[in-house]
Symmetry: C2
Subunit: 82 residues, 2 copies
């Protein structure tokens, strides 16, 4: 079985309000050396092993469902899963 | 600069309702070979290079802020960032 790990993050040009809020919270906890925090989404998709168009279909799923192409960018890794 | 990539996912024993919803959506888009979808959160934390207690503090930040220890689990990777 193939395990595809997808990471969706905001584009650099878009304000990461959640990340900024978490940075403030981390600082108020006393960890002042945290210089930046970014928040994104993480997906794990499992596919059968004999999947011919895996990368093409993962691109389509990311473009059409998992990421908002206006403000987000994504990357993924394909690994073997048991 | 150190870049810490944190992945927070639901424990296996907890129903992943968002993942199930995404699986249904992916199937309705015609990708029937997707066997399972899990959804989680992804964080990127940047720290200065000369950070002595990095792993200890990242554990604390995850335990106390980023993950809900009742239902979630986390793992992280430490990489070099420019």
């Amino acid at each position: 079985m193939k395990l595809v790990k997808v990471y969706v993050t905001l584009k650099d040009s878009v304000l990461d309000a959640q990340g900024e809020a978490i940075k403030s919270a981390v600082h108020s906890m006393g960890y002042n050396k945290v210089e930046n925090v970014g928040m994104g989404k993480y997906f794990e998709l499992k596919f059968a092993d004999d999947y011919a168009d895996l990368e093409k279909d993962v691109d389509s799923i990311c473009d059409d469902l998992l990421a908002n192409p206006n403000i987000e960018t994504y990357r993924y890794e394909i690994a073997e899963a048991e």
